[in-house]
Symmetry: C2
Subunit: 512 residues, 2 copies
C-alpha cells in the first residue's frame, strides 16, 4: 500500500521480489531455495546475512466445519478484501470469535456497517491483556452499542445452513450468521526457521538474542515470529505488536552493520479504540504478576480526562501496579473516553525510565482545561500510590468484601441519597460530614472498612478515624472499582455525556 | 467555585475567613495583623507556621488613559464577570494587548463570541514561551480565524472616544474598540512578604528553599508569588503555572509535618488550545539555551498525529533540543492539531527522567491507527537526534540559508512539480529518484545542502551522496521548517482537513 518494488528499487536500491516463496533455508551454505510462483520454477539464492521477518498467522483450530467459506480470518489486505466483499453484499448478522484486539475492533467495524454482531470469547472477559475489572467498562460499552457477548463460551463446530453459517457453542447455544470472523489469536510463522534447524522457543517462536540474531550467526529474525522476554517474569513471550517489530528490525540492521543497540524486552504497550471508548495498558497486568508470584501493590483512581468544567470529558479508570518496596512501576491500565492514550504513553515512558510512584507525583505535565488538570490523573495515581507505601493511607480492595464484612465494619461515607441508591452489602452509612461527631457509634476494636464513590471522601474519613485511634482502611477506587470488580453494572455502558460534571458522571448508576 | 468555607470546615476542619485582609506579617512574633473588611476592624492572629500563597497580579503599566473602565485585566472570577458583562452587551470590536497564553486564549474566546479581535504584541512573535518558528503556525492559524495581529507593537496610550477606547500603538497605528483586554504578564504579590522583611529575589518573587521555606524559619510560600530555579540555567525564574503551584503546596505541607520531599525546579511544561490548533512545550527553549550559552543541538520533525490513512490527523511540528555530548533532552516544543498534548507530556516525562535522544528511539508507546503510528512522532524525533549525534546524518538549518547559498550547492530532491511550486532561493532540482544516476552533475568539491519537504527524502539523498564521497548535509525539518523560520506562509493557517494524506497536507502551500 505504501511502497512498490519499483519505488523501493529507485529510492533505496533494494531489489524486492514479490510472488517469490522461500521453500527452504540452508544457513551453513548461506543459501535459500526460492520458488518463483509466476514462472513455476525454483532457484537458489545466496546471502551474507539473512533476516527473517515472516510474522504470525491467525490460528484456525481444527474444528468441524471451520473450512466453511464464510468463516474468515484477518491477517492481510487480501483477507480484508474478502471480508469487505461479504459485508458489501449487505449481510445482516455476523459472529466474531475471539474478544482480543482484532476481535473487538472487527466487532466495532461491523456494527458501524450496520450489521448485528455477536462476539464469542472463551474467557469470561474481553480484552485479555487487561485485568477483568478494567475490561468491564469496555464490555458494557460494547453491549450498550448493541453487540451481544457470549463470554466463557467456545465455538465447537460450524455448519452450512442455506448460505449462512450455524455456529455451535460449548455452552449449548447455537448462533446463525452470514459471516464468521475467527480472531482467536496468532501463531508465529516459524516453520521455515524450524526446518532450517534454527532454535525455536517454548512458545513456538524463533529464539533470538538481544541483537535479534537466531541460533545461527548469519541469520537474524524480527517481528511477530520471534519470542521476546517479559521484563517482569523474565520468561519468553510472544507479543505481536507493530512498534516492537519496527524496533527489532532497526536493531537487527544495526547489528549487521556493527552499530550499537540491543532489544531488551517488550513492555506490551497496547491500546484499542472501541466505539467511543479507549482502553489499553503497558507493562505487567495483575494476572501476570500473580502468575509469576511477584509481590506487588495496586491502586485505582477515576479522575476525569481533563478539567471537569470544560466540555467533553469523562472519568478515566486508571489502575497502577508497582513494587511494594521501592514503588517502581510494574504496569498500568487505563480505560475511559478522553485522554486515555496520553496517560498510557506517559506511564509507558515512566516504566521504561524505571520511575516509581513517588516520581509520578512530581511529573510536570501540560495543563490547560481542555487537556488535563493541575493535578493530572497520572499525578493522582502517584499520590495514592505514594501515600500507600508511606503508610499515609491503608487500602482495602473490592475482592476482600467478604473478609471485610466478616471481620470489621463497612462504612459508606457518601451521602444518604447515594447510600440509598446503591451500597455495598453489609455497609452502614456515616456521611463524611458527620464523621467528626458520629464516630463514637463505631466499635473501636474492629477494623473499619471505609468507602465512597471513587476514594477521595473515604481518604479524608480514613485520616479522621486514624487520628482518633481507629484501625481504618479505605476502598481503593471506591464504588466505581467495586462494581467493575464484581461485575455489577456500575454504568450502563452509555457514552459519557461530555458536559456531565465528574461527581455525577461516576455516581448513581449502580444497578446491583 | 469548588468549595465553600463551610464545606472546608466540615470536611477538613479548616477555618476559612473570606473577606479578611492580612495587612502585615510579624514573623518573629508569629503574628499577622488582619483586617475584617465587613466588620471594619483589625485584629491580631497568631501562628505556629505561616504559609503565604498570594499568587500574582496582572501587570497594569502606568500608561496614559489606562484607567479607562473598558481597559480590563483578567485574574479571577470577578474580573471575568466584568469582561463577560461587557461582552454580553453585544459589543463589536475588542483589542487584546499581549500575545502570551492569556492573551491568545482571550482572543480565541472573543472570536468565538462573534467579536472582531485585534491582538497587539510587543515582540515579533506570539507565544513567547515557544521559539519564533514554532509559534508561526499558531500565528497563521489565528490570522486565518480572523484575528488581526499587530506584532512588534506596544500600546502607548488609551483615550475615551464615545464610549469606546482608542488605543495608540508605538508603530503609529490607532485602534478603536469597545473593550481592551490587558494581558501583558503578571507580577508576584510579594509586597506583604517584602514589608515583613522576607527575602525577595532578583525577579521580584519571594525567595524560598527547596522545602518552600522563606528566609524566615516559620514562614513558607508557594505558587505564583515565589521564584523557582530554571533547571538549565540555574537562575531564579518566575513560572506562574497551576501544576507547579499545586506541587509546591504539597511540599510546604509535607515539610511542616516533617515529611520528605523537595521542590527542585520548574520545567515550565505548558500548553495552549488556540481554535483548532494546540501548541506548547516543556523544558528549555532555544532562546533560553542561547541566552545562557548552553551548547545544544536541535532537530525538527513533522510526522502526522496518528496513522495518516486514519481520518482526523494532520502534521505535528516537533522541535527537540538536547545535549551535543550525551544527547540528554533539554527541551521540546510541539505544535499541531491532534495528539499534541500527548507528545508534550511524553517528552516532559522523558526530560524529568533524564532521558536522551537515544532513549526516545526505544520508547514503546501505544499504537493503534486512531492514536499514533508504529513509529511515534516522539520515536521519530529520537531517531533523527540519535542519527545526528552518531554522525549518521549531517544537518543544516533554515537560518543558514545564506551561508549555504554562498558556500555550497543547494539541492532540492523533491519532484519537479514540488520544486516548481516553491523552492529555496538558489536551489537546483535533482529528484531523489534520479540521484543515483545524476549525481555526477554535482561539484564534488563543494558541500551539498540537501532538502526536501520534511526531511525524509533528503535523508535518503544524504546517505546516497555521503557513500559516494560527497560532503553532504540535509535540511532539518525541510521546506516546512524553512517556511516557519523565514515567516513565509508555508500554510495559510487553515485547519488541516482531517482526511488529507500526510504528504499532501505538508506540501504545496508555500507562498513565498
Amino acid at each position: 500500500m505504501l511502497q512498490t518494488p519499483e519505488s523501493l528499487q529507485r529510492n533505496l536500491n533494494i531489489e524486492v521480489r514479490t510472488g517469490h516463496n522461500v521453500l527452504a533455508i540452508r544457513p551453513d551454505d548461506r543459501q535459500v531455495e526460492v520458488q518463483d510462483i509466476a514462472a513455476g520454477k525454483t532457484y537458489t539464492e545466496s546471502f551474507d546475512k539473512l533476516v527473517l521477518a515472516p510474522g504470525a498467522r491467525p490460528i484456525r483450530p481444527p474444528l468441524p466445519g471451520i473450512d466453511h467459506p464464510r468463516v474468515l480470518t484477518l491477517r492481510d489486505i487480501d483477507d480484508m478484501d474478502r471480508i469487505k466483499e461479504v459485508v458489501d453484499a449487505k449481510i445482516e448478522r455476523a459472529i466474531v470469535i475471539g474478544g482480543g484486539y482484532i476481535g473487538v475492533e472487527m466487532a466495532e467495524n461491523l456494527v458501524e456497517r450496520g450489521i448485528a454482531v455477536e462476539l464469542v470469547e472463551l474467557q469470561d472477559q474481553i480484552m485479555a491483556p487487561l485485568d477483568p475489572e478494567m475490561a468491564r467498562p469496555l464490555q458494557y460499552h460494547m453491549e450498550w452499542k448493541g453487540v451481544i457477548l457470549h463470554l466463557g463460551a467456545g465455538a465447537q463446530s460450524f455448519e452450512e445452513s442455506d448460505g449462512k453459517v450455524r455456529v455451535f457453542l460449548s455452552t449449548g447455544t447455537e448462533l446463525l450468521a452470514d459471516l464468521v470472523i475467527l480472531a482467536v489469536g496468532v501463531r508465529p510463522e516459524s516453520d521455515l526457521a524450524k526446518a532450517a534447524g534454527l532454535r525455536i522457543g517454548p512458545r513456538g517462536g524463533i529464539v533470538v538474542n538481544r541483537h535479534m540474531l537466531t541460533s545461527h550467526p548469519d541469520v537474524y529474525a524480527a517481528g511477530d515470529a520471534v519470542e521476546v522476554l517479559n521484563p517482569i517474569t523474565g520468561l519468553p513471550a510472544l507479543v505481536p505488536l507493530a512498534g516492537p517489530a519496527n524496533r527489532q528490525g532497526r536493531i537487527a540492521a544495526n547489528h549487521i552493520f556493527g552499530k550499537p543497540g540491543a532489544y531488551l524486552a517488550t513492555q506490551g504497550t497496547a491500546i484499542v479504540k472501541l466505539f467511543d471508548m479507549t482502553g489499553g495498558g503497558t507493562g505487567a497486568n495483575e494476572k501476570a504478576l500473580r502468575a509469576s508470584s511477584t509481590p506487588y501493590r495496586k491502586v485505582y483512581v477515576h479522575p476525569s480526562g481533563h478539567a471537569a468544567y470544560y466540555p467533553g470529558t469523562a472519568p478515566i479508570h486508571l489502575k497502577l501496579l508497582f513494587s511494594p518496596d521501592s514503588g517502581e512501576l510494574f504496569g498500568a491500565q487505563v480505560v475511559g473516553f478522553d485522554g486515555v492514550d496520553k496517560r498510557i504513553d506517559v506511564l509507558a515512558t515512566a516504566i521504561q525510565a524505571g520511575m516509581t510512584v513517588f516520581d509520578l507525583q512530581d511529573l510536570e505535565l501540560a495543563y490547560a482545561p481542555p487537556f488535563g488538570s493541575a493535578k493530572d490523573p497520572v499525578n493522582m495515581a502517584g499520590f495514592v500510590g505514594a501515600n500507600l507505601l508511606q503508610g499515609d493511607i491503608h487500602l482495602w480492595y473490592a475482592e476482600d468484601h467478604q473478609m471485610a464484612m466478616a471481620s470489621g465494619t463497612i462504612v459508606d461515607v457518601r451521602t444518604p441519597e447515594e447510600f440509598e441508591e446503591f451500597h455495598l452489602p453489609g455497609a452502614i452509612n456515616l456521611p463524611l460530614d458527620t464523621l467528626r461527631t458520629r464516630h463514637p457509634s463505631l466499635a473501636q476494636e474492629r477494623p473499619v472498612y471505609l468507602y465512597c464513590q471513587v476514594g477521595f471522601r473515604s481518604y479524608l474519613a480514613f485520616r479522621i478515624l486514624t487520628q482518633l485511634g481507629f484501625d481504618a482502611y479505605t476502598l481503593s477506587g471506591g464504588v466505581v472499582t467495586y462494581c467493575q470488580v464484581h461485575g455489577s453494572e456500575m454504568c450502563d455502558g452509555r457514552p459519557m455525556a461530555p458536559v456531565v460534571p465528574y461527581a455525577e458522571a461516576v455516581s448513581g448508576r449502580c444497578r446491583k
